[in-house]
Symmetry: C2
Subunit: 296 residues, 2 copies
Protein backbone atom coordinates (compact mmCIF):
# COMPACT_ATOMS: atom_id res chain seq x y z
CA UNK A 1 0.00 0.00 0.00
CA UNK A 2 0.98 3.62 -0.59
CA UNK A 3 0.86 5.39 2.76
CA UNK A 4 0.65 8.91 1.37
CA UNK A 5 -2.45 8.01 -0.67
CA UNK A 6 -3.94 6.24 2.37
CA UNK A 7 -3.33 9.25 4.63
CA UNK A 8 -4.63 11.68 2.01
CA UNK A 9 -7.87 9.75 1.53
CA UNK A 10 -8.52 9.46 5.25
CA UNK A 11 -7.68 13.12 5.77
CA UNK A 12 -10.23 14.13 3.12
CA UNK A 13 -12.87 11.98 4.79
CA UNK A 14 -12.16 13.59 8.16
CA UNK A 15 -11.98 17.14 6.82
CA UNK A 16 -15.36 16.70 5.16
CA UNK A 17 -16.92 15.28 8.32
CA UNK A 18 -15.47 18.05 10.52
CA UNK A 19 -16.96 20.66 8.20
CA UNK A 20 -20.38 19.01 8.51
CA UNK A 21 -20.29 18.42 12.27
CA UNK A 22 -19.28 21.98 13.12
CA UNK A 23 -22.11 24.51 13.17
CA UNK A 24 -21.82 27.24 10.53
CA UNK A 25 -21.36 30.87 11.49
CA UNK A 26 -24.70 32.64 11.39
CA UNK A 27 -26.68 35.05 13.52
CA UNK A 28 -25.60 35.55 17.10
CA UNK A 29 -22.26 34.23 18.30
CA UNK A 30 -20.86 34.04 14.77
CA UNK A 31 -17.40 35.20 15.94
CA UNK A 32 -16.98 32.07 17.97
CA UNK A 33 -18.11 29.82 15.13
CA UNK A 34 -15.60 31.52 12.84
CA UNK A 35 -12.84 31.16 15.42
CA UNK A 36 -13.62 27.46 15.89
CA UNK A 37 -13.63 26.79 12.16
CA UNK A 38 -10.45 28.84 11.59
CA UNK A 39 -8.32 26.58 13.75
CA UNK A 40 -10.14 23.33 13.10
CA UNK A 41 -10.27 23.54 9.32
CA UNK A 42 -6.95 25.35 8.84
CA UNK A 43 -4.86 22.29 8.10
CA UNK A 44 -3.37 19.61 10.30
CA UNK A 45 -2.26 16.05 9.63
CA UNK A 46 -5.38 14.53 11.27
CA UNK A 47 -3.09 11.87 12.73
CA UNK A 48 -5.26 11.17 15.79
CA UNK A 49 -8.55 10.59 13.92
CA UNK A 50 -6.73 8.56 11.28
CA UNK A 51 -5.38 6.35 14.07
CA UNK A 52 -8.93 5.89 15.37
CA UNK A 53 -10.23 4.82 11.98
CA UNK A 54 -7.24 2.58 11.23
CA UNK A 55 -7.59 0.86 14.62
CA UNK A 56 -11.30 0.33 14.03
CA UNK A 57 -10.68 -1.15 10.60
CA UNK A 58 -7.98 -3.41 12.00
CA UNK A 59 -10.63 -5.30 13.98
CA UNK A 60 -13.20 -5.17 11.13
CA UNK A 61 -15.26 -2.45 12.82
CA UNK A 62 -17.58 -0.08 10.97
CA UNK A 63 -15.48 3.00 10.28
CA UNK A 64 -18.53 5.14 9.48
CA UNK A 65 -19.88 4.84 12.98
CA UNK A 66 -16.50 5.61 14.52
CA UNK A 67 -16.01 8.77 12.43
CA UNK A 68 -17.76 11.18 14.86
CA UNK A 69 -15.51 9.93 17.66
CA UNK A 70 -12.42 10.32 15.48
CA UNK A 71 -13.54 13.89 14.75
CA UNK A 72 -14.29 14.57 18.42
CA UNK A 73 -10.67 13.71 19.24
CA UNK A 74 -9.52 16.18 16.58
CA UNK A 75 -11.76 18.86 18.18
CA UNK A 76 -10.06 18.20 21.51
CA UNK A 77 -6.61 18.29 19.92
CA UNK A 78 -7.43 21.61 18.22
CA UNK A 79 -8.75 23.15 21.45
CA UNK A 80 -5.53 22.18 23.18
CA UNK A 81 -3.45 23.87 20.47
CA UNK A 82 -5.50 27.10 20.68
CA UNK A 83 -5.11 27.28 24.45
CA UNK A 84 -1.40 26.27 24.37
CA UNK A 85 -0.68 29.10 21.95
CA UNK A 86 -2.25 31.80 24.17
CA UNK A 87 -0.08 34.65 25.46
CA UNK A 88 -0.39 33.31 29.02
CA UNK A 89 0.89 29.91 27.85
CA UNK A 90 3.40 29.43 25.03
CA UNK A 91 2.62 32.81 23.45
CA UNK A 92 3.02 31.59 19.86
CA UNK A 93 2.18 33.64 16.78
CA UNK A 94 2.08 30.88 14.19
CA UNK A 95 0.55 27.43 14.00
CA UNK A 96 0.32 25.24 10.90
CA UNK A 97 1.71 28.14 8.89
CA UNK A 98 -1.14 30.48 9.89
CA UNK A 99 -1.48 33.12 12.57
CA UNK A 100 -2.59 31.59 15.85
CA UNK A 101 -6.23 31.89 16.86
CA UNK A 102 -5.80 34.69 19.41
CA UNK A 103 -3.70 36.70 16.93
CA UNK A 104 -6.70 36.70 14.56
CA UNK A 105 -9.73 36.76 16.88
CA UNK A 106 -8.30 38.17 20.11
CA UNK A 107 -7.68 36.42 23.40
CA UNK A 108 -11.26 36.26 24.69
CA UNK A 109 -12.60 34.65 21.52
CA UNK A 110 -9.65 32.24 21.40
CA UNK A 111 -10.24 31.08 24.97
CA UNK A 112 -13.95 30.62 24.25
CA UNK A 113 -13.32 28.90 20.90
CA UNK A 114 -11.11 26.40 22.70
CA UNK A 115 -13.74 25.87 25.40
CA UNK A 116 -16.38 25.44 22.70
CA UNK A 117 -14.37 22.87 20.73
CA UNK A 118 -13.77 20.82 23.89
CA UNK A 119 -17.45 20.93 24.84
CA UNK A 120 -18.58 20.22 21.29
CA UNK A 121 -16.46 17.06 21.26
CA UNK A 122 -18.54 15.61 24.09
CA UNK A 123 -21.79 16.79 22.51
CA UNK A 124 -20.84 15.05 19.27
CA UNK A 125 -19.94 11.79 21.00
CA UNK A 126 -23.34 11.66 22.73
CA UNK A 127 -25.47 12.80 19.79
CA UNK A 128 -28.27 10.29 19.27
CA UNK A 129 -27.84 10.63 15.49
CA UNK A 130 -24.21 9.64 15.95
CA UNK A 131 -24.40 6.72 18.28
CA UNK A 132 -27.63 4.90 17.49
CA UNK A 133 -25.79 1.99 15.86
CA UNK A 134 -23.32 1.55 18.71
CA UNK A 135 -23.27 -0.35 21.96
CA UNK A 136 -23.99 2.34 24.59
CA UNK A 137 -21.82 0.95 27.45
CA UNK A 138 -18.86 0.87 25.06
CA UNK A 139 -19.63 4.44 23.99
CA UNK A 140 -19.56 5.55 27.64
CA UNK A 141 -16.32 3.64 28.23
CA UNK A 142 -14.68 5.31 25.23
CA UNK A 143 -15.81 8.80 26.27
CA UNK A 144 -14.38 8.09 29.70
CA UNK A 145 -11.02 7.07 28.17
CA UNK A 146 -10.94 10.26 26.12
CA UNK A 147 -11.90 12.53 29.03
CA UNK A 148 -9.27 10.88 31.21
CA UNK A 149 -6.60 11.29 28.53
CA UNK A 150 -7.53 14.94 27.91
CA UNK A 151 -7.92 15.87 31.57
CA UNK A 152 -5.83 16.65 34.58
CA UNK A 153 -4.48 13.09 34.76
CA UNK A 154 -3.50 13.32 31.08
CA UNK A 155 -2.96 16.20 28.68
CA UNK A 156 -3.64 19.07 31.09
CA UNK A 157 -1.40 17.52 33.75
CA UNK A 158 1.38 17.28 31.16
CA UNK A 159 0.84 20.85 30.02
CA UNK A 160 1.09 22.40 33.49
CA UNK A 161 4.27 20.46 34.33
CA UNK A 162 5.65 21.48 30.92
CA UNK A 163 4.98 25.16 31.70
CA UNK A 164 6.35 24.88 35.22
CA UNK A 165 9.54 23.19 34.01
CA UNK A 166 10.51 26.09 31.75
CA UNK A 167 14.01 27.29 32.60
CA UNK A 168 14.51 24.57 35.22
CA UNK A 169 16.81 21.56 35.17
CA UNK A 170 14.79 18.46 34.36
CA UNK A 171 15.64 14.77 34.35
CA UNK A 172 14.43 11.82 32.33
CA UNK A 173 11.46 10.93 34.61
CA UNK A 174 10.20 14.54 34.41
CA UNK A 175 10.37 14.72 30.66
CA UNK A 176 8.82 11.26 30.36
CA UNK A 177 5.94 12.43 32.57
CA UNK A 178 5.42 15.55 30.49
CA UNK A 179 5.50 13.77 27.15
CA UNK A 180 3.39 10.74 28.01
CA UNK A 181 0.80 13.03 29.59
CA UNK A 182 0.85 16.02 27.24
CA UNK A 183 0.80 13.98 24.04
CA UNK A 184 0.93 10.25 24.67
CA UNK A 185 -2.35 9.71 26.52
CA UNK A 186 -4.57 11.24 23.85
CA UNK A 187 -2.78 9.40 21.03
CA UNK A 188 -3.26 6.15 22.93
CA UNK A 189 -6.93 7.08 23.50
CA UNK A 190 -7.34 7.66 19.74
CA UNK A 191 -6.24 4.09 19.11
CA UNK A 192 -8.35 2.72 21.99
CA UNK A 193 -11.45 4.47 20.68
CA UNK A 194 -11.11 2.73 17.33
CA UNK A 195 -10.43 -0.75 18.61
CA UNK A 196 -13.07 -0.63 21.35
CA UNK A 197 -15.89 0.79 19.21
CA UNK A 198 -14.78 -1.53 16.39
CA UNK A 199 -15.52 -4.50 18.63
CA UNK A 200 -11.96 -5.66 19.32
CA UNK A 201 -11.32 -8.51 21.78
CA UNK A 202 -9.72 -7.98 25.19
CA UNK A 203 -6.38 -9.16 23.76
CA UNK A 204 -6.62 -6.86 20.75
CA UNK A 205 -7.45 -3.91 23.02
CA UNK A 206 -4.46 -4.72 25.21
CA UNK A 207 -2.05 -4.95 22.26
CA UNK A 208 -3.34 -1.74 20.70
CA UNK A 209 -3.05 0.03 24.04
CA UNK A 210 0.67 -0.81 24.12
CA UNK A 211 1.05 0.22 20.48
CA UNK A 212 -0.65 3.54 21.20
CA UNK A 213 1.46 4.20 24.27
CA UNK A 214 4.69 3.62 22.34
CA UNK A 215 3.85 5.73 19.28
CA UNK A 216 2.46 8.48 21.51
CA UNK A 217 5.74 9.01 23.34
CA UNK A 218 7.74 8.58 20.12
CA UNK A 219 5.60 11.26 18.46
CA UNK A 220 6.49 13.87 21.07
CA UNK A 221 10.19 12.95 21.07
CA UNK A 222 10.25 13.50 17.29
CA UNK A 223 8.42 16.80 17.86
CA UNK A 224 11.22 17.90 20.17
CA UNK A 225 13.84 16.85 17.62
CA UNK A 226 12.05 18.75 14.83
CA UNK A 227 12.01 21.86 17.04
CA UNK A 228 15.82 21.65 16.95
CA UNK A 229 16.51 20.32 13.45
CA UNK A 230 13.30 20.92 11.51
CA UNK A 231 12.52 23.31 8.71
CA UNK A 232 10.27 26.22 9.68
CA UNK A 233 8.49 26.34 6.31
CA UNK A 234 7.77 22.62 6.38
CA UNK A 235 6.68 22.62 10.04
CA UNK A 236 4.49 25.72 9.79
CA UNK A 237 5.66 26.84 13.22
CA UNK A 238 8.82 28.32 14.65
CA UNK A 239 11.99 26.26 15.12
CA UNK A 240 14.31 26.63 18.07
CA UNK A 241 11.50 28.01 20.24
CA UNK A 242 11.82 25.23 22.84
CA UNK A 243 15.47 26.07 23.55
CA UNK A 244 14.70 29.79 23.62
CA UNK A 245 11.96 29.25 26.21
CA UNK A 246 14.06 26.79 28.23
CA UNK A 247 11.47 24.05 27.61
CA UNK A 248 11.95 20.55 28.97
CA UNK A 249 12.72 18.38 25.94
CA UNK A 250 14.23 15.00 25.13
CA UNK A 251 17.15 16.52 23.18
CA UNK A 252 17.73 18.85 26.14
CA UNK A 253 18.04 15.89 28.50
CA UNK A 254 19.51 13.14 26.30
CA UNK A 255 20.97 14.98 23.31
CA UNK A 256 19.77 14.58 19.73
CA UNK A 257 21.33 11.18 18.99
CA UNK A 258 20.01 9.41 22.07
CA UNK A 259 16.61 11.04 21.61
CA UNK A 260 16.48 9.74 18.05
CA UNK A 261 17.50 6.29 19.31
CA UNK A 262 14.77 6.35 21.99
CA UNK A 263 12.18 7.21 19.35
CA UNK A 264 13.41 4.44 17.05
CA UNK A 265 13.25 1.89 19.86
CA UNK A 266 9.70 2.94 20.74
CA UNK A 267 8.57 2.64 17.12
CA UNK A 268 10.13 -0.85 16.84
CA UNK A 269 8.38 -1.80 20.08
CA UNK A 270 5.05 -0.43 18.79
CA UNK A 271 5.31 -2.45 15.60
CA UNK A 272 6.18 -5.51 17.69
CA UNK A 273 2.78 -5.28 19.39
CA UNK A 274 1.14 -5.66 15.98
CA UNK A 275 2.89 -8.96 15.27
CA UNK A 276 -0.14 -11.21 15.74
CA UNK A 277 -2.21 -9.19 13.27
CA UNK A 278 -2.13 -9.98 9.56
CA UNK A 279 -1.94 -7.57 6.59
CA UNK A 280 -4.80 -5.52 8.03
CA UNK A 281 -2.28 -4.00 10.48
CA UNK A 282 -0.24 -2.60 7.59
CA UNK A 283 -1.68 0.94 7.96
CA UNK A 284 -0.83 1.04 11.67
CA UNK A 285 2.70 -0.28 10.96
CA UNK A 286 3.24 2.32 8.27
CA UNK A 287 1.84 5.12 10.44
CA UNK A 288 4.35 4.16 13.13
CA UNK A 289 7.19 4.39 10.59
CA UNK A 290 5.75 7.67 9.33
CA UNK A 291 5.80 9.12 12.86
CA UNK A 292 9.44 8.07 13.13
CA UNK A 293 10.49 9.64 9.82
CA UNK A 294 8.22 12.69 9.70
CA UNK A 295 9.61 16.10 8.85
CA UNK A 296 6.52 18.03 9.94
Amino acid sequence: MDLSIYLQKKKELIDEALDIYLPSPNGYASTIHKAMRYSLLGGGKRLRPILTIASCELVDGDSDSVLPFACAIELIHTYSLIHDDLPAMDNDDYRRGNLTNHRVFGEAAAILAGDALLTEAFRLMTDSKTIFKLNTPVVLDVINDIAYAAGVCGMIGGQIVDLESEGKEVFLPDIEYIHTHKTGHIIRASVMTGVKLGGGTEEEIELLSEYGKAIGLAFQIIDDILNVEGDKAELGKSVGSDAKKGKATYPGVLGIDDSRRSANLLIDKAIGFLEKFDDKAEPLRMIARYIEARKK
Copy 2:
Protein backbone atom coordinates in the same frame (compact mmCIF):
# COMPACT_ATOMS: atom_id res chain seq x y z
CA MET B 1 -40.55 22.81 55.10
CA ASP B 2 -37.75 25.21 56.01
CA LEU B 3 -35.95 26.10 52.79
CA SER B 4 -32.77 27.32 54.43
CA ILE B 5 -32.33 24.00 56.25
CA TYR B 6 -33.14 22.12 53.03
CA LEU B 7 -30.58 24.13 51.03
CA GLN B 8 -27.94 23.80 53.74
CA LYS B 9 -28.30 20.00 53.94
CA LYS B 10 -28.13 19.58 50.16
CA LYS B 11 -25.17 21.94 49.98
CA GLU B 12 -23.27 19.87 52.56
CA LEU B 13 -23.99 16.70 50.63
CA ILE B 14 -22.70 18.27 47.42
CA ASP B 15 -19.63 19.86 49.02
CA GLU B 16 -18.65 16.50 50.49
CA ALA B 17 -19.12 14.73 47.17
CA LEU B 18 -17.16 17.37 45.25
CA ASP B 19 -14.27 16.98 47.67
CA ILE B 20 -14.25 13.22 47.09
CA TYR B 21 -14.65 13.32 43.31
CA LEU B 22 -11.85 15.81 42.75
CA PRO B 23 -8.34 14.35 42.77
CA SER B 24 -6.14 15.60 45.61
CA PRO B 25 -3.03 17.64 44.95
CA ASN B 26 0.01 15.38 45.01
CA GLY B 27 3.12 14.77 42.98
CA TYR B 28 3.27 16.19 39.48
CA ALA B 29 0.69 18.75 38.36
CA SER B 30 -0.23 19.67 41.93
CA THR B 31 -0.63 23.36 41.00
CA ILE B 32 -3.55 22.53 38.78
CA HIS B 33 -5.20 20.36 41.39
CA LYS B 34 -4.86 23.18 43.90
CA ALA B 35 -6.26 25.71 41.44
CA MET B 36 -9.23 23.45 40.64
CA ARG B 37 -10.00 22.91 44.32
CA TYR B 38 -9.55 26.59 45.18
CA SER B 39 -12.42 27.69 42.96
CA LEU B 40 -14.59 24.61 43.30
CA LEU B 41 -14.50 24.33 47.06
CA GLY B 42 -14.33 28.05 47.85
CA GLY B 43 -18.03 28.57 48.44
CA GLY B 44 -20.97 28.90 46.12
CA LYS B 45 -24.70 28.37 46.59
CA ARG B 46 -24.65 25.02 44.69
CA LEU B 47 -27.96 26.04 43.15
CA ARG B 48 -27.52 24.00 39.96
CA PRO B 49 -26.69 20.66 41.62
CA ILE B 50 -29.44 21.24 44.20
CA LEU B 51 -31.90 21.71 41.31
CA THR B 52 -30.70 18.40 39.84
CA ILE B 53 -31.25 16.53 43.08
CA ALA B 54 -34.60 18.22 43.80
CA SER B 55 -35.84 17.40 40.27
CA CYS B 56 -34.75 13.79 40.65
CA GLU B 57 -36.51 13.47 44.00
CA LEU B 58 -39.65 15.05 42.57
CA VAL B 59 -40.12 11.99 40.34
CA ASP B 60 -39.01 9.53 43.06
CA GLY B 61 -35.61 8.95 41.48
CA ASP B 62 -32.56 7.74 43.38
CA SER B 63 -30.71 10.91 44.39
CA ASP B 64 -27.49 9.01 45.21
CA SER B 65 -27.05 7.91 41.63
CA VAL B 66 -27.73 11.40 40.30
CA LEU B 67 -25.19 13.04 42.65
CA PRO B 68 -22.15 12.67 40.34
CA PHE B 69 -24.13 14.37 37.54
CA ALA B 70 -25.20 17.16 39.88
CA CYS B 71 -21.54 17.63 40.82
CA ALA B 72 -20.43 17.51 37.17
CA ILE B 73 -22.73 20.46 36.45
CA GLU B 74 -21.13 22.36 39.33
CA LEU B 75 -17.68 21.60 37.84
CA ILE B 76 -18.86 23.09 34.55
CA HIS B 77 -20.34 26.11 36.30
CA THR B 78 -17.08 26.68 38.18
CA TYR B 79 -14.95 26.37 35.02
CA SER B 80 -17.15 29.00 33.38
CA LEU B 81 -16.65 31.41 36.31
CA ILE B 82 -12.86 30.96 36.23
CA HIS B 83 -12.69 31.67 32.50
CA ASP B 84 -15.20 34.55 32.67
CA ASP B 85 -13.07 36.25 35.33
CA LEU B 86 -9.86 36.14 33.23
CA PRO B 87 -8.19 39.42 32.26
CA ALA B 88 -9.08 38.82 28.61
CA MET B 89 -12.76 38.44 29.57
CA ASP B 90 -14.40 40.30 32.47
CA ASN B 91 -11.09 40.93 34.26
CA ASP B 92 -12.52 40.50 37.75
CA ASP B 93 -10.44 40.39 40.92
CA TYR B 94 -13.01 38.95 43.32
CA ARG B 95 -15.47 36.08 43.21
CA ARG B 96 -17.49 34.72 46.10
CA GLY B 97 -15.57 37.06 48.37
CA ASN B 98 -12.19 35.57 47.42
CA LEU B 99 -9.54 36.58 44.92
CA THR B 100 -10.28 35.17 41.49
CA ASN B 101 -8.40 32.07 40.34
CA HIS B 102 -5.96 33.85 38.02
CA ARG B 103 -5.14 36.42 40.74
CA VAL B 104 -3.96 33.56 42.96
CA PHE B 105 -2.50 31.01 40.52
CA GLY B 106 -1.71 33.12 37.46
CA GLU B 107 -3.40 33.17 34.09
CA ALA B 108 -1.93 29.98 32.63
CA ALA B 109 -2.94 27.85 35.61
CA ALA B 110 -6.40 29.47 35.70
CA ILE B 111 -7.03 28.69 32.02
CA LEU B 112 -5.86 25.11 32.55
CA ALA B 113 -7.83 24.70 35.79
CA GLY B 114 -10.97 25.75 33.90
CA ASP B 115 -10.18 23.33 31.06
CA ALA B 116 -9.55 20.58 33.60
CA LEU B 117 -12.83 21.15 35.47
CA LEU B 118 -14.78 21.04 32.21
CA THR B 119 -13.05 17.84 31.10
CA GLU B 120 -13.37 16.26 34.53
CA ALA B 121 -17.14 16.82 34.42
CA PHE B 122 -17.42 14.53 31.41
CA ARG B 123 -15.02 11.98 32.92
CA LEU B 124 -17.14 11.87 36.07
CA MET B 125 -20.40 11.42 34.14
CA THR B 126 -18.95 8.41 32.26
CA ASP B 127 -17.15 6.77 35.16
CA SER B 128 -18.22 3.13 35.37
CA LYS B 129 -18.27 3.38 39.18
CA THR B 130 -20.71 6.28 38.84
CA ILE B 131 -23.16 5.02 36.29
CA PHE B 132 -23.45 1.28 36.79
CA LYS B 133 -26.95 1.57 38.29
CA LEU B 134 -28.26 3.83 35.52
CA ASN B 135 -29.84 3.28 32.14
CA THR B 136 -27.00 3.97 29.69
CA PRO B 137 -29.05 5.53 26.86
CA VAL B 138 -30.52 8.01 29.38
CA VAL B 139 -27.00 8.76 30.65
CA LEU B 140 -25.88 9.56 27.10
CA ASP B 141 -28.95 11.71 26.53
CA VAL B 142 -28.31 13.68 29.71
CA ILE B 143 -24.62 14.22 28.88
CA ASN B 144 -25.73 15.46 25.46
CA ASP B 145 -28.16 17.95 27.07
CA ILE B 146 -25.41 19.22 29.35
CA ALA B 147 -22.83 19.53 26.56
CA TYR B 148 -25.35 21.36 24.40
CA ALA B 149 -26.25 23.76 27.22
CA ALA B 150 -22.60 24.44 28.06
CA GLY B 151 -21.43 24.74 24.46
CA VAL B 152 -21.48 27.17 21.61
CA CYS B 153 -25.27 26.88 21.24
CA GLY B 154 -25.65 27.61 24.95
CA MET B 155 -23.40 29.15 27.58
CA ILE B 156 -20.40 29.93 25.36
CA GLY B 157 -22.65 31.49 22.70
CA GLY B 158 -24.18 33.71 25.40
CA GLN B 159 -20.79 34.67 26.77
CA ILE B 160 -19.34 35.81 23.43
CA VAL B 161 -22.42 37.90 22.60
CA ASP B 162 -22.26 39.33 26.13
CA LEU B 163 -18.62 40.37 25.59
CA GLU B 164 -19.30 41.73 22.12
CA SER B 165 -22.27 43.79 23.35
CA GLU B 166 -20.18 45.75 25.86
CA GLY B 167 -20.58 49.46 25.25
CA LYS B 168 -23.12 48.97 22.46
CA GLU B 169 -26.82 49.75 22.38
CA VAL B 170 -28.78 46.54 22.89
CA PHE B 171 -32.49 45.73 22.66
CA LEU B 172 -34.70 43.23 24.43
CA PRO B 173 -34.11 40.34 21.96
CA ASP B 174 -30.34 40.71 22.35
CA ILE B 175 -30.41 40.68 26.11
CA GLU B 176 -32.86 37.78 26.08
CA TYR B 177 -30.47 35.85 23.84
CA ILE B 178 -27.53 36.57 26.12
CA HIS B 179 -29.31 35.63 29.34
CA THR B 180 -31.10 32.51 28.17
CA HIS B 181 -27.85 31.26 26.63
CA LYS B 182 -25.28 32.40 29.18
CA THR B 183 -27.21 31.26 32.23
CA GLY B 184 -30.61 29.82 31.33
CA HIS B 185 -29.60 26.77 29.30
CA ILE B 186 -27.39 25.24 31.97
CA ILE B 187 -29.95 25.86 34.74
CA ARG B 188 -32.57 24.17 32.58
CA ALA B 189 -30.12 21.30 31.92
CA SER B 190 -29.59 20.91 35.68
CA VAL B 191 -33.32 20.32 36.08
CA MET B 192 -33.51 18.04 33.01
CA THR B 193 -30.65 15.91 34.33
CA GLY B 194 -32.52 15.23 37.55
CA VAL B 195 -35.89 14.44 36.05
CA LYS B 196 -34.52 12.30 33.21
CA LEU B 197 -32.12 10.24 35.33
CA GLY B 198 -34.80 10.03 38.01
CA GLY B 199 -37.05 8.24 35.52
CA GLY B 200 -39.60 11.02 34.91
CA THR B 201 -42.34 10.56 32.31
CA GLU B 202 -42.42 12.47 29.02
CA GLU B 203 -44.98 14.86 30.50
CA GLU B 204 -42.94 15.42 33.66
CA ILE B 205 -39.84 16.09 31.58
CA GLU B 206 -41.75 18.62 29.48
CA LEU B 207 -43.13 20.47 32.51
CA LEU B 208 -39.75 20.56 34.23
CA SER B 209 -38.14 21.81 31.04
CA GLU B 210 -40.48 24.82 31.07
CA TYR B 211 -39.90 25.34 34.79
CA GLY B 212 -36.12 25.27 34.21
CA LYS B 213 -36.30 27.69 31.31
CA ALA B 214 -38.31 30.22 33.34
CA ILE B 215 -36.20 30.15 36.51
CA GLY B 216 -33.00 30.23 34.41
CA LEU B 217 -33.87 33.53 32.79
CA ALA B 218 -35.27 34.94 36.06
CA PHE B 219 -32.02 34.02 37.82
CA GLN B 220 -29.93 36.14 35.43
CA ILE B 221 -32.36 39.09 35.54
CA ILE B 222 -32.05 39.10 39.34
CA ASP B 223 -28.28 38.89 38.92
CA ASP B 224 -28.39 42.08 36.84
CA ILE B 225 -30.60 43.80 39.42
CA LEU B 226 -28.24 42.80 42.24
CA ASN B 227 -25.34 44.25 40.26
CA VAL B 228 -27.16 47.60 40.52
CA GLU B 229 -28.81 47.37 43.94
CA GLY B 230 -26.98 44.61 45.77
CA ASP B 231 -24.62 44.74 48.69
CA LYS B 232 -20.98 44.04 47.83
CA ALA B 233 -20.23 42.25 51.10
CA GLU B 234 -23.27 40.00 50.76
CA LEU B 235 -22.63 39.28 47.06
CA GLY B 236 -18.90 38.62 47.42
CA LYS B 237 -18.26 40.40 44.14
CA SER B 238 -18.23 43.99 42.97
CA VAL B 239 -21.44 45.98 42.50
CA GLY B 240 -21.98 48.43 39.68
CA SER B 241 -19.41 46.65 37.50
CA ASP B 242 -21.94 45.94 34.73
CA ALA B 243 -22.72 49.62 34.23
CA LYS B 244 -19.03 50.53 34.40
CA LYS B 245 -18.22 48.01 31.65
CA GLY B 246 -21.24 48.99 29.57
CA LYS B 247 -22.62 45.44 29.87
CA ALA B 248 -25.92 44.48 28.29
CA THR B 249 -28.34 44.03 31.20
CA TYR B 250 -32.08 43.89 31.83
CA PRO B 251 -32.07 47.04 34.01
CA GLY B 252 -30.09 48.76 31.26
CA VAL B 253 -32.78 47.95 28.68
CA LEU B 254 -35.99 47.93 30.77
CA GLY B 255 -35.10 49.82 33.93
CA ILE B 256 -35.09 48.31 37.42
CA ASP B 257 -38.87 48.20 37.96
CA ASP B 258 -39.76 46.47 34.72
CA SER B 259 -36.83 44.10 35.15
CA ARG B 260 -38.12 43.15 38.59
CA ARG B 261 -41.61 42.68 37.13
CA SER B 262 -40.24 40.43 34.35
CA ALA B 263 -38.47 38.29 36.93
CA ASN B 264 -41.62 38.05 39.08
CA LEU B 265 -43.69 36.99 36.07
CA LEU B 266 -41.17 34.33 35.12
CA ILE B 267 -41.13 32.92 38.65
CA ASP B 268 -44.95 32.80 38.74
CA LYS B 269 -44.89 31.05 35.37
CA ALA B 270 -42.28 28.56 36.60
CA ILE B 271 -44.36 27.69 39.66
CA GLY B 272 -47.38 27.32 37.38
CA PHE B 273 -45.65 24.47 35.55
CA LEU B 274 -45.44 22.58 38.86
CA GLU B 275 -49.21 22.69 39.41
CA LYS B 276 -49.90 19.04 38.65
CA PHE B 277 -47.29 17.88 41.14
CA ASP B 278 -48.18 17.34 44.79
CA ASP B 279 -46.23 18.31 47.91
CA LYS B 280 -43.10 16.72 46.51
CA ALA B 281 -42.71 19.81 44.29
CA GLU B 282 -42.47 22.05 47.36
CA PRO B 283 -38.64 22.30 47.20
CA LEU B 284 -38.76 23.37 43.54
CA ARG B 285 -41.49 25.93 44.30
CA MET B 286 -39.51 27.34 47.21
CA ILE B 287 -36.29 27.42 45.19
CA ALA B 288 -38.11 29.48 42.55
CA ARG B 289 -39.24 31.96 45.24
CA TYR B 290 -35.72 31.96 46.65
CA ILE B 291 -34.29 32.90 43.23
CA GLU B 292 -36.79 35.74 43.07
CA ALA B 293 -35.98 37.11 46.52
CA ARG B 294 -32.27 36.37 46.76
CA LYS B 295 -29.83 39.03 47.92
CA LYS B 296 -26.69 37.15 46.82
